[in-house]
């Protein structure tokens, strides 16, 4: 007999049993692929959709193909998935549901789909796992869409990243790195390179990833476009092996292991500046989307290179500017002239080099402009031309700042202490981009010393002229004296000549001493020279060293000449036994020079008749020119002459 419990137990079938017994049409109605496995994994029920997804119809009860009706299974990453490790097997083993697991089903014809499986174990009344049911779906399309979406996201991220990195790039190296990263991230290539035209228009590698030195050497310079190409388009070579490329080049490319490549032009301002290349290990189909993306990257790269070049050029230009400004500054400071610069047309502020501040006796920070504001203006000097003070507007810098060219302008800078410096130079306008004067530059040399020297020279020349005239007048006077006093023309001529020679001798002595003075002793010895006896006993001179200044020396010289000549003609030097003794001494108390001329042993003398010239000199010249006092005594023994001359500093100096 069947017991109630057994009946009861067998009256409510388990899910598993229900499914086993279910009408096939129910399974077919479910809008999903469905199959049921027994606890040991044997497939016991399935619907048509399942066979469509599997691509085959399994045998019910087949113990060889368990857990899944697929021909082959893989993980999503492509690793093989044994049937015994499938989610179904896991569900049966663990008794736990498997939800949203994804596997790759390979059909017998080799095609693959991605399936999402949804498995529940089926338990009996006692909770024992009797089997499991799997609802699975083809999510290949979704997966594809997801992949494409992910791809798009990557691409956008790559574009965003390159834009961001280029914005922050500090060098061309940064630019190239950012671009290569973006290319390799966004495009499906394995290698990439960037090339730019150099100064001679040759395409050169500037950055690359994954290329050998040989490849680069061999392909450098090749370019599908010339630098002048207008609107160059990307060139995609999807199969290097069969492309229309020169044989040697093709061999090089293939030796590098490149199966496909693309040339993407880099254009800025409508000008081709280079290209980037993407390299594919295998043949590759280039989609429009990929090419568009590559072009977008190319555009960013082009901008980046251009901007970096511009920045570089600016840096170089600024460095050059800076160097030139430093050079200019150095020149300004080195030049031994005063340089002034006004940078505004009214010359409210003027700056200059160090020489200019020193000249004007200002400190380097001061504003030397006389056109400056009252509280800024210098107050220690005035500027004059020909003795007239100039108004600020008449000054050379100010005039130049109005557009005038000033050349060879001489002016005086007179300081408050009365001293002056004289300047000579030029001023020229500075012009703005439109050519209007906006300031001025002036360069002036200090010619004060030159002027002083010139003045001195003029004075000396006038002085020279004056002296020469005086000397000639003196010669005529001596001539007058000589010829009017002596009726004997020959004698007159001889004594005239002798007097002129004496005058000349004094001049020589003066010249020797640079016109500073003549030694009295030297004058005496010069005049006595023709009359010395061999033993020198007929002339004696003695006294302290005294030097007479020019005027007095000349008068005294002529006087001594007359005295000596007379002594030789009529006095002590005209006999063998006669002698002349000249002594002098300085009377410091009375500030006088006392000279004694004593002739002795000569013929008896009487007051002279004809030697009027000598007396004229002694009695009048010495008195008027030298302020001296002369006494002549014609004693029987010989002439005695006593002369007292005041020792003014313009007369003589005691050496």
């Amino acid at each position: 007999m069947i017991s109630d419990a057994t009946l009861a137990a067998s009256a409510a079938p388990s899910g598993y049993e229900a499914l086993l017994a279910i009408d096939p049409s129910v399974l077919e109605a479910i809008p999903a692929a469905v199959y049921v496995c027994a606890a040991d994994g044997v497939i016991v029920r399935f619907n048509r959709r399942a066979t469509e997804l599997w691509g085959r119809m399994p045998e019910i009860g087949d113990t060889d193909a368990r857990f899944c009706g697929s021909f082959r299974l893989y993980h999503l990453d492509g690793r093989p998935l044994p049937h015994a490790r499938t989610p179904m097997a896991a569900a049966l083993r663990s008794g736990r549901p498997q939800r949203d697991k994804e596997v790759v089903i390979e059909r017998p014809d080799g095609s693959r789909i991605v399936a999402s499986v949804h498995i529940d174990p089926l338990r009996d009344g006692n909770g024992q796992v009797q089997g499991a049911i799997n609802c699975f779906q083809d999510i290949t399309g979704r997966k594809q869409a997801e992949k494409i979406s992910a791809r798009r996201t990557e691409e956008q991220a790559a574009l965003f990243q390159i834009t961001d990195r280029l914005h922050r790039a500090r060098s061309l190296g940064d630019v190239y790195d950012s671009a290569l990263d973006a290319i390799l991230r966004a495009l499906p290539c394995q290698r990439a390179s960037i090339l730019l035209f150099d100064e001679s228009g040759v395409m050169r590698f500037v950055a690359w990833r994954g290329l050998s030195d040989d490849y680069r050497r061999a392909t450098e310079g090749h370019s599908p476009w010339t630098p002048e190409a207008k609107d160059p388009q990307p060139i995609c070579v999807d199969d290097v092996a069969n492309a229309d490329i020169a044989g040697s080049l093709r061999a090089t490319i293939r030796a590098e292991g490149i199966g496909a490549l693309a040339f993407i032009p880099l254009v800025t301002d409508g000008r081709l500046i280079g290209k980037f290349m993407s390299y594919y290990d295998a043949c590759h189909v280039f989609t429009d989307a990929e090419v568009d993306l590559a072009v977008a990257i190319g555009r960013q790269l082009g901008f980046g290179v251009e901007r970096m070049r511009a920045e570089e050029a600016l840096r170089v230009s600024e460095a050059r500017e800076s160097a030139r400004a430093a050079e200019l500054r150095t020149i300004m400071e080195a030049v031994p002239a005063a340089i002034w610069i006004a940078r505004d047309p009214e010359c409210r502020v003027i700056s200059g080099n160090r020489t200019s501040y020193e000249l004007l006796r200002l400190s380097p920070g001061d504003n030397p402009s006389l056109s400056a504001r009252e509280d800024e203006r210098p107050e220690n000097f005035e500027v004059l031309v020909d003795g007239r003070v100039l108004a600020p507007g008449e000054l050379p810098v100010q005039r130049a700042a109005r557009g005038e060219e000033i050349r060879n302008f001489e002016h005086e800078v007179r300081f408050n202490d009365g001293t002056s410096r004289y300047l000579f130079g030029n001023a020229t306008p500075l012009r703005d981009a439109e050519g209007d004067p906006c300031g001025a530059v002036a360069a002036f040399v200090d010619i004060t010393d030159r002027r002083n020297a010139e003045e001195q020279r003029q004075l000396l020349l006038a002085e020279l002229s004056h002296r020469v005239k005086n000397t000639l007048a003196t010669v005529i006077s001596i001539g007058q004296q000589s010829f009017s006093r002596n009726p004997n023309v020959d004698e007159a001529r001889r004594s005239f000549a002798a007097r002129i020679r004496a005058l000349a001798q004094t001049h020589s002595r003066l010249a020797e001493a640079n016109w500073s003075g003549v030694s009295f002793e030297a004058m005496l010895l010069d005049e006595f020279a023709p009359y010395f006896r061999d033993d020198g006993s007929n002339v004696r001179v003695s006294g302290p060293p005294i030097a007479f200044h020019a005027k007095c020396a000349l008068t005294l010289g002529m006087t001594i000449h007359e005295l000596a000549t007379n002594a030789a003609k009529y006095g002590a030097l005209s006999t063998k036994s006669g002698s002349v003794d000249v002594t002098w001494q300085v009377d410091a108390r009375h500030r006088q020079l006392r000279i004694r001329w004593t002739e002795s042993g000569g013929p008896t003398v009487s007051p002279p008749g004809r030697s009027g010239f000598g007396r004229l000199l002694l009695e009048r010249a010495l008195a008027s020119d030298l302020g001296g006092d002369v006494r002549l005594d014609f004693v029987a023994d010989g002439l005695k002459c006593a002369i007292a001359i005041p020792l003014d500093e313009h007369v003589a100096r005691v050496a």
Binding site: A462, S465, H466, R467, V468, K469, N470, L472, A473, T474, V475, I476, S477, I478, Q480, Q481, S484, K551, T555, M558, L616, L617, R620, A621, S624, D625, H650
Partner: protein, 127 residues
């Protein structure tokens, strides 16, 4: 005619003196410094002055200015050229050193015609 001479070169002064005496003039001086010449000029009576421009380094211009003010004619005797003279004296009578006696007498006559026709003997031309 009485003539005052200022000349610092003794022999030149003596020469002038002799030339002018031969022409019939009487002489005041010669004086070799501006000081002595000015003192004499204020003290003495004379009709004309012959002035050396440079008297031992001092210019004779102050004396010339005084004589101008007093209306007494003067002649510069000079080793300087006209351009070296101050503006106001550039047109004054001057003869060069060394002097030509005939030229000197001519200038004196022209400068002081009234004196020449005065009670003193007329100027005699040098030989």
């Amino acid at each position: 005619m009485r003539i005052l001479i200022a000349e610092d070169e003794f022999l030149v002064g003596v020469h002038l003196e002799e030339d002018l005496r031969s022409a019939g003039c009487s002489i005041v001086g010669p004086f070799s410094s501006l000081e002595t010449a000015m003192r004499a000029a204020r003290r003495e009576r004379f009709d004309l002055a012959v002035l050396d421009i440079n008297l031992n380094g001092t210019m004779v211009y102050p004396l010339a200015d005084e004589l101008s003010a007093r209306g007494i004619p003067f002649i510069f005797l000079s080793g300087y050229i006209a351009a070296d003279l101050p503006e106001r004296f550039r047109q004054a009578r001057q003869i060069a050193k060394p002097h030509d006696p005939a030229v000197l007498i001519e200038e004196i006559r022209a400068a002081a015609p009234k004196a020449d026709r005065g009670h003193d003997a007329p100027l005699k031309m040098p030989r």
